[in-house]
């Protein structure tokens, strides 16, 4: 049992395909692990025991019938509670959707099911994906398996914690400003934000439509690639979906190399606010890349200094509109409907009671930024910055194949430490946000533990749009070299729960 939960997704799939284990055994092992540790970790908001076992049984039946199984058939997965699941609660970490049972599957959910990936349940997250610590969940925080008093990152802290706690070998996250990569960084796992439009947003509850992107989370680069291949691809139900073949990510993950590559490091991604141990591990990573045959190029991307400010205008603006639909009329929470109040009053009372403080803060910020008289100065200017950032990336990628940086300026901070300081919280996404604004692809993978606190540090790899395969090529090379250096995967150093 203990063996099964420590396997990679690729290994599990191989064992199921060969008949060495059944999908039901694998699922049961993970459900048992969830039973054993999730009370402490709180990675899951909802465990769909029956649904998962039914899916696993179906995989076993397929195998018995001699049908061909997909590359991830029978592998369990933890799904961020932002994707709709037909018949299974979807809360987005918010009280306002408590008890809502979606009548439809997100395209991503459908693709997972079609690929026979076993969905164990829905993972905790900052309410509406707004946050960097999962503390903004209406259902309580998630602990970082490395130290349960620390945050697991956010907004996808449930997914990253589930991986690090061996509750699932695969997870799904969504990344609007870093919500896949920063949790991956602080939990010693791998997370990828694909190119905007690579993974369908249909059925993914919107926070900021022009920035949101679903992506794979795993414990290895290859597993992330296998999952990437399953969830990516054109979806006619999402107008912003890319109508082009998925880049060869699995092939890239199987042939990791940086030999002869030009790799950029950006001046703007270091300095004040960066933890010494993070910088140290990052610098070591750059040295490693050189040893592996890469050429390092220093880049200046001045617009990146404006990214955080632009992001905190664009994302709240879009969210103020996206979240308007939560009005107590058709689904979710309804407060004050006692027969004496108007629809308008019920809507107001419901939103008052149903949204947490961070969501309200952003809805107000966005409402303000879009108001007539302020639109040009705020939303309009932010869009201009966005264009500048895209240009800086374009110029950079004329010189280099990928860019590397720390994923996040610090290791996991303590639960509660930044809860009252939104600005400090926002800084966690300093290095990840420019990628969302430009729409290109990025990965975070472990590059060691910070000497001062023994917590994982993430290395971010950034690739041009549509070149997601480069992330895997570089990531696989770095992962292999570090694993050899450390003698084992980094998660083995995490305390057992």
């Amino acid at each position: 049992m203990a063996d099964l939960i420590k396997l990679t997704a690729a290994e599990i799939a191989a064992k199921i395909a060969s008949g060495e284990v059944t999908a039901v055994e694998v699922t049961e092992a993970h459900l048992a692990r969830i039973d054993a540790v999730d009370e402490k970790v709180h990675a899951f908001l909802h465990v769909d025991r029956e649904g998962a076992l039914a899916q696993a049984r179906a995989v076993d039946a397929k195998r018995e019938r001699g049908e061909k199984l997909g590359p991830l058939a029978g592998v369990p997965l933890a799904l961020k509670d932002i994707f709709t699941t037909k018949g299974v609660p979807t809360t987005v970490g918010s009280k306002i959707l408590e008890g809502w049972i979606p009548p439809y599957d997100a395209t991503l959910t459908k693709r997972l099911k079609d690929a026979d990936v076993v969905i164990l349940g829905k993972t905790n997250m900052d309410e509406f994906a707004m946050g960097s610590s999962t503390e903004n969940s209406a259902y309580g925080p998630t602990g970082n398996p490395w130290d349960l008093t620390k945050i697991p990152g956010g907004s996808g802290g449930g997914s990253s914690a589930a991986l690090a706690a061996y509750e699932a070998p695969l997870a799904i996250g969504t990344d609007t400003g870093g919500s896949i990569r920063q949790p991956a960084a602080v939990t010693g796992t791998v997370g990828v934000k694909p190119t905007y439009g690579a993974v369908s947003r249909f059925g993914m509850v919107a926070f900021s439509s022009s920035l949101d992107q679903g992506g794979p989370c795993a414990r290895t680069v290859l597993d992330a690639a296998l999952l990437h291949e399953v969830i990516a691809g054109h979806d006619p139900l999402d107008s912003t979906s890319i109508d082009a073949p998925v880049p060869p990510v699995v092939e890239a993950a199987r042939s990791g190399s940086v030999d002869g590559m030009r790799i950029g490091i950006v001046k703007q991604f270091r300095g004040e606010g960066y933890q010494a141990g993070v910088i140290q591990r990052f610098d070591e990573s750059v040295e490693l890349l050189k040893e592996l045959g890469a050429e390092i190029v220093e880049l200046d991307c001045p617009s990146f200094d404006l990214a955080l400010a632009a992001y905190y205008l664009i994302a709240p603006s879009e969210c103020s509109s996206n979240l308007a639909r939560f009005d107590a009329m058709r689904y979710g929470l309804r407060v004050g409907d006692d027969g004496t109040k108007s629809a308008e009053e019920v809507t107001a009372l419901t939103r008052e009671a149903g949204f947490g403080p961070e969501v309200k803060r952003r809805v107000m910020l966005g409402t303000y930024a879009l108001s007539s008289g302020y639109y040009d100065a705020y939303y309009g200017s932010a869009q201009k910055v966005r264009t500048l950032i895209t240009r800086d990336f374009e110029a950079a990628f004329e010189q280099v194949d990928v860019i590397v940086s720390p994923t996040t300026p610090t290791t996991a901070f303590a639960i509660g430490e930044r809860a009252d300081d939104p600005m400090a919280m926002y800084l966690a996404d300093l290095c990840t946000i420019p990628t969302n604004l430009a729409g290109n692809a990025a990965m975070s993978l472990p590059c060691g533990l910070a000497p001062e606190d023994g917590l994982p540090v993430g290395l971010q790899i950034i690739a041009p749009a549509l070149k997601d395969d480069r992330l895997y090529k570089v990531g696989a090379a770095v992962e292999a070299a570090f694993t050899e250096r450390w003698g084992h995967p980094i998660l083995e150093e995490a305390p057992s729960l």
Binding site: G203, S239, T240, A324, D327, L370, S372, Y375
Partner: protein, 502 residues
């Protein structure tokens, strides 16, 4: 304000110049909604034509209906507009329970069509050019039914029922530039514009544009300025004026009301107003102290629409003849007066007459039946002419029977009556009602000749001037034809044969 407080229309126009702006919403007749695949049929069970997207469920996303874009481009082209090479949708943010997302996906500063005009013809034949500001695409809202209030409006209602079948139906909003210079004819221009636009929309085949079904809705913006002034006055916005006659009445009422307020030293407040069919008045709705802030921004869930130039030109080439030009052409071809043509138009008979002519009838006969007997019946039954259970082909057949002499007008009316009564096609009615023999002049003539030959004495009396004696010969013919002949016609034939007139 009561009607007695109004300034007379003539007095109002003596002092002020009206300025109008007309906003018309047209529901497109696409099979599916603007942003999802739901059906658009009218009259379905409430909320049966909905899906996650048009209900605004969390996670749902829109996809643009290509046919709707094509319809919008066609409308734009027919209105002589420029067609955007690249335009985006925008979100119009405001809360209302019948709007599932609490924003309407619309277009803001990048409409698909802009800068055009529509020439409308007034009743006396004068052509007035109405400039078009823009035509843009958007989605309809759901439909609220407010229960328990006195007015049927949300205010005072106990509860409201929401039907989202209409939510997401494609709409084209067509906005005029300020219409000036119409003077006392402003209400007539407003009506003629909406009528012409309706004809145009129907001719394009993009919507049935039935105002009574809400498929076409009009907002009348109106302000007055003193003659000689160039600065527009404050406007009122009379919402949802939903018949041609109401458009005219609403404009007329507002001219009188504005004049009354201004003449007594008052100021017009910018507000929306409700129109009342019963007495043609308007009452205050919602006061717009400042422009409502809809916080428009480009819709991030949709990609820009970029109609290819070649495609636009293809659509332009395929446009039908504009209704006004067609009407003028038909008027000449049919040789009718402008006034008669207007009556034909008002009766909704143009296409029916065209179809009847295409089915073989001559113009005069086709017009005579549709504008005479059939219009009378439609009126009596309170239905549209087109809704009568008779086809243009059937009317054409009746015309043919008359032309070949098989029917006279009186009998033709009976045939039409039979068709309307569901007795079948004209020939079947002729057969069933036994009008066939009557129409067979040859057979009847033979029977008459035989009767004259067999009753030579009576025939002589008649020839001698005793016309009353004809009754006996009629009786003989009726007997010979076993009662299936038209006695009056028989009598005519007898007198004709004997060279006698009454």
């Amino acid at each position: 304000m009561t009607v007695t407080d109004l300034v007379s229309y003539e007095d109002a126009l003596a002092t002020y110049e009206p300025v109008m702006g007309l906003e018309v919403h047209v529901e497109l007749g696409t099979k599916t909604k603007m942003f999802c695949g739901c059906a658009t049929e009218l009259g379905a069970e409430p909320n049966s034509q909905t899906c996650p997207t048009c209900l605004g469920l969390p996670g749902s996303l829109p996809v643009v209906n290509g046919i709707a874009v094509e319809s919008a481009v066609k409308i734009g082209l027919a209105l002589h507009c420029e067609i955007a090479e690249w335009c985006r949708f925008a979100r119009k943010n405001y809360f209302y329970p019948d709007m599932p997302k609490n924003f309407q996906t619309s277009q803001y500063d990048e409409p698909i069509a802009f800068n055009g005009y529509l020439d409308v013809q007034l009743e006396d034949g004068e052509v007035f050019r109405v400039e078009i500001e823009r035509a843009h695409m958007e989605e309809d809202t759901g439909k609220s039914t407010h229960v328990g209030g006195a007015t049927g409006r949300i205010h005072g209602a106990q509860h409201s029922l929401l039907d989202y079948n209409r939510a997401g139906i494609p709409l084209i909003e067509i906005v005029t530039k300020p219409i000036t210079g119409a003077g006392e004819r402003a209400p007539e221009v407003a009506k003629a514009y909406v009528a012409e636009l309706r004809e145009l929309i129907k001719a394009l085949g993009v919507s049935e544009a039935r105002m009574e079904m809400g498929q076409m809705r009009c907002d009348v913006n109106l302000s007055l300025m003193p003659h000689g002034s160039e600065k527009f006055g404050t406007r009122s916005e009379t919402k949802n004026v939903n018949s041609l006659r109401s458009v005219e009445r609403a404009a007329r009422f507002e001219i009188m009301r504005h004049a009354a307020v201004l003449s007594s030293g008052g100021t017009i407040v910018q507000e929306t107003r409700h129109f009342h069919e019963e007495d043609g008045s308007t009452t205050s709705g919602r006061i717009k102290e400042e422009a409502e802030d809809y916080r428009y921004f480009p819709e991030p869930d949709l990609v820009p629409v970029a109609p290819a130039r070649a495609w636009v030109e293809e659509l332009r080439t395929g446009l039908p003849e504009l209704p006004r030009l067609r009407r003028n052409r038909l008027r000449e071809e049919w040789g009718v007066s402008a006034h008669d043509m207007q009556s034909i138009l008002n009766a909704g008979a143009v296409d029916l007459i065209v179809a009847t002519i295409e089915a073989g009838a001559d113009a005069a006969s086709a017009r005579k039946w549709w504008m005479g007997e059939l219009s009378r019946r439609a009126n009596e039954d309170g239905v549209d002419l087109a809704a009568l259970p008779i086809t243009a082909e059937q009317v054409a057949r009746v015309c043919a029977l008359v032309a070949e002499g098989s029917l006279n007008d009186k009998l033709a009316r009976q045939v039409i009556e039979g068709v309307l009564a569901g007795e079948g096609a004209p020939d079947e009615v002729v057969e069933k009602r036994g009008l066939k023999v009557v129409s067979d002049e040859g057979a009847l003539g033979t029977a008459v000749d035989e009767a004259i030959a067999a009753n030579a004495a009576i025939a002589d009396k008649i020839r001698g001037g005793k016309v009353a004696a004809a009754g006996a010969l009629v009786g003989a013919v009726m007997k010979a034809t076993r009662g299936q002949a038209d006695a009056a016609r028989v009598r005519e034939l007898i007198l004709e044969r004997l060279g006698v007139t009454e």
